[in-house]
Amino acid sequence: MGNNQGTIILGVFATAFLIYIGYNLLANISPYTPVSELLELESAYNVQVNGTIENTTVLENNTSIFYLTDGKSKVKVIYDGYLHNQDGLKVVVVGDYKNGTLYAYQILNKCHTEYETGGE
């Protein structure tokens, strides 16, 4: 194999790899949306919304209803699961937004700001 041929082969391999990474990234991202912006939308799928939990009502059929607020606006969230005593907690809600309600499928806790962990 000639010198340049080797370089070309490795170059093609690396480029194909980069395209694969880029394609995968575009196919698997979900946007962060502020509460106020979310309310302006008709519907949105697979969004991530930052905010604080407020006024939680826990229903007996494993459903919780709460409001997510960013201090200015608030949105109603329905979540399949019990959210026991979590008012005031800062979270990222992942879910679909339709008809004025955010249907959460994941709620990620943000560490309390007083809590800085060391190490990682």
């Binding site: 194999m1 010198n3 340049n4 041929q5 080797g6 370089t7 082969i9 490795l10 391999f13 690396a14 790899f17 980069l18 694969y20 990474i21 880029g22 995968n24 990234l25 196919a27 698997n28 991202i29 979900s30 946007p31 962060y32 991530q48 930052n50 826990v58 007996e60 059929n61 494993n62 919780s64 399949d80 699961g81 019990y82 959210l83 026991h84 005593n85 979590q86 005031g88 907690l89 990222v92 990620l108 806790n109 943000k110 560490c111 309390h112 700001t113 007083e114 809590y115 800085e116 962990t117 060391g118 190490g119 990682e120």
Partner: protein, 613 residues
């Protein structure tokens, strides 16, 4: 000024003095100045040691007049967590990092005293000086307040043995990676005759830090699995990615030194070392900078910005050093069927993985979106496949053009096909089967290689252990990612829940009150084929001293050979008659731990042989 602050001020002065004395000593060839610089290093080491001991004594005596002590301890905290509170906050962890860097500098000094050492110590001193400035300003652990009667307590998530040892382990690595960086940049500045020496001398430090970082990641992953309750060992969170990236570049470095005979890789080794330490700084930017929206970014502050600028500065410095001293080399690869080519391919895959992780980590900064776990997992699975394949061939192929390769690969290839087919028949899962095939191929090749190898020393055994560890770790990761089950539902007493082959029956809800927390747990009996296997007690613990009250999930895990029954409680209905429950049947998780442990053990073996040389 507080006593601790005075010690830190002395150490900063000593650092600045030693940087000056060492640099001037090298330039003027003055042994006297070098001697002064050396004393400076010992002096600042002692100052940092004393200030660390002082902080520790404040923690142990629970002196709540110090904000740091107040924020991270309380009077109920057991001794071990009172000690680990030292590195529970950013102030203490920066002090720890600084102390480790100073210690590393002492090691450098004890090894050899020449121009390279002097200039290495002055560059690592520059970074240490920045940390020392943080310790006196934005991250001062010795700030006092009006005395409080009770402390805040340690973050409940950190009250585990893993979190006692994880931060120091990672900081040993982060301090260690500064030395090779300072060494090779010094080497490049000092001139051609030092360049090669610097790379050679830095290998030991890189390798040492590589072992500690790997072990730290291992402990962190184990902690996340046991503690966080989402069922996995690796969440691809920016904070986790940040520690993985320098590990990838240092892994690449360790392999790149095998190619030192090729001119082009002189520069590659240099840049891999630079990249490793730049990524270490990047990791501290991610964890404290707050400009990456991580679900567990810890605190925000101006330090992140300063560190980021510092990182850019260090990269520019290294690029400058490179162009000053390395000849320009044309990018020409002479590929042949030999081990060199296999190693180059491995390096490319590792660097691509690095690019993928980096791209995912910084996406939230630039685009207001964040990648999902599927992004990382699909790329990782692909890279694991490639790495295993390359590893299997690499260990058998010869350094010179290998015309017998196909002959050598015949039996392992047949075994690969057999392993693939039999796993497919057993599991009906294509990804698992492909991996079973490739793992068998790579494992067999390693087995053959070690049997026919004539020269077998500790270094060789170490490398083999690491490779076998990688095979096992990858197998475990595929099991957890692609061969596990997850159920999220709610359950009442004496109802049954079927998860995989297991039947879960909650038999009791109870509470335990401790001094600063209250736990509600569910006793769940786990049955398989009608036989009671064990009783799990997952629950929720509410910590009462901290305001606002904090609820932490207590995960319960029962392991049966290759399967984990992993249960976490997500909440209770208002009358506690029903509980929200997540059950994961995780397969092959144990292989993840065994693999990571083997990688660490193999690393230690190879390091010991490295020291002997």
């Amino acid at each position: 000024m507080d006593g601790g602050e005075i010690l830190l001020a002395f150490s900063l002065m000593a650092i600045l003095f030693s940087i000056w004395a060492l640099l001037a000593g090298v330039r003027k060839r003055s042994t006297r100045l070098l001697q002064y610089g050396e004393w400076g290093v010992y002096f600042y080491f002692l100052m940092l040691l004393f200030s660390s001991m002082l902080l520790l004594s404040h923690l142990l005596s629970k002196d709540y007049s110090y904000i740091y002590v107040y924020k991270h301890t309380n009077s109920f905290l057991p001794l071990i967590y009172t000690v680990s509170a030292f590195w529970a906050g950013k102030e203490g962890s920066i002090l720890l990092w600084a102390l480790f860097i100073a210690t590393a500098n002492i090691f450098v000094l004890s090894e050899k005293k020449d121009a390279l050492t002097a200039s290495t110590l002055s560059i690592s001193g520059m970074f240490l000086a920045i940390l020392n400035v943080f310790l006196l300003t934005t991250s001062n652990p010795f700030i006092r307040t009006v005395a409080k009667s009770e402390g805040f307590g340690l973050n409940p998530l950190l009250r585990t043995f893993e979190m006692v040892i994880h931060p120091p382990t990672v900081f040993i690595a982060y301090a260690g990676f500064l030395i090779p960086f300072a060494m090779v940049v010094s080497g490049a500045f000092l001139g051609r005759e030092w360049r090669e020496k610097a790379i050679v001398r830095s290998v030991k430090y890189s390798f040492f830090s590589w072992i500690f970082l790997g072990f730290g990641i291992f402990i962190g992953a184990y902690w996340a699995y046991k503690t966080l309750g989402w069922g996995g060992f690796w969440g691809w969170d920016p904070v986790e990615n940040a520690s993985l990236m320098p590990w990838l570049t240092s892994t690449a470095f360790i392999h790149s030194i095998m190619l030192r005979k090729r001119k082009i890789f002189d520069g590659l080794s240099f840049f891999l070392i630079v990249a490793t330490f730049s990524l270490v700084i990047f990791a501290s930017v991610v964890t404290r900078g707050g400009f990456i929206n991580s679900v567990h970014a810890f605190g925000e502050g101006e330090e992140g910005i300063i560190l980021f600028i510092l990182m850019i500065g260090f990269i520019i410095l290294s690029v400058f050093a490179y162009f000053k001293n390395y000849e320009k080399q044309a990018m020409k690869f002479n590929l042949s069927i030999n081990r060199e080519t296999a190693i180059i391919l491995f390096l490319i895959v590792t660097l691509m993985l690095l690019i993928a992780v980096l791209a995912g980590t910084v996406t939230p900064v630039f685009t207001n979106t964040s990648p999902e776990r599927e992004y990382y997992e699909s790329i990782m699975v692909f890279c694991e496949f490639l790495i295993l394949l390359i590893l299997g061939i690499c260990i058998r192929i010869s350094w010179r053009r290998d015309d017998e390769l196909i002959e050598k690969m015949r039996v392992p290839f047949i075994i690969m096909i057999l392993a693939f087919l039999s796993t497919l028949a057993l599991t009906k899962n294509a990804i698992i089967s492909i991996f079973a095939g490739v793992s068998a191929f790579t494992f067999l090749n390693h087995f053959i290689a070690i049997t026919i190898k004539k020269k077998r020393d500790l270094r060789v055994y170490g490398a083999f252990l690491v490779h076998i560890g990688v095979i096992i770790l990858f197998a475990g990761s595929i099991g957890v990612w692609d061969y596990s089950e997850h159920i999220s539902t709610s359950i009442a007493l004496n109802e049954t829940l079927q998860a995989g082959d297991y039947t879960l029956v909650p038999v009791k809800v109870d509470g335990v009150e401790k001094r600063d927390c209250f736990t509600v747990f569910v006793e769940i009996e786990v049955y398989k084929n009608g036989e009671l296997l064990s009783t799990l007690k997952p629950g929720l613990t509410e910590y009462m001293i901290i305001n606002p009250n904090r609820i932490v999930s207590d995960v319960a895990i029962a392991s049966y050979y290759m399967e984990d029954v992993y249960v976490s409680i997500t909440g209770f209905s208002s009358d506690f008659s029903r509980a929200g429950i997540e059950v994961f049947i995780n397969r092959l998780t144990i292989l993840v731990w065994v693999g990571m442990a083997l990688i660490t053990a193999g690393g230690v073996c190879s390091y010991l042989s490295l020291r002997k040389d």
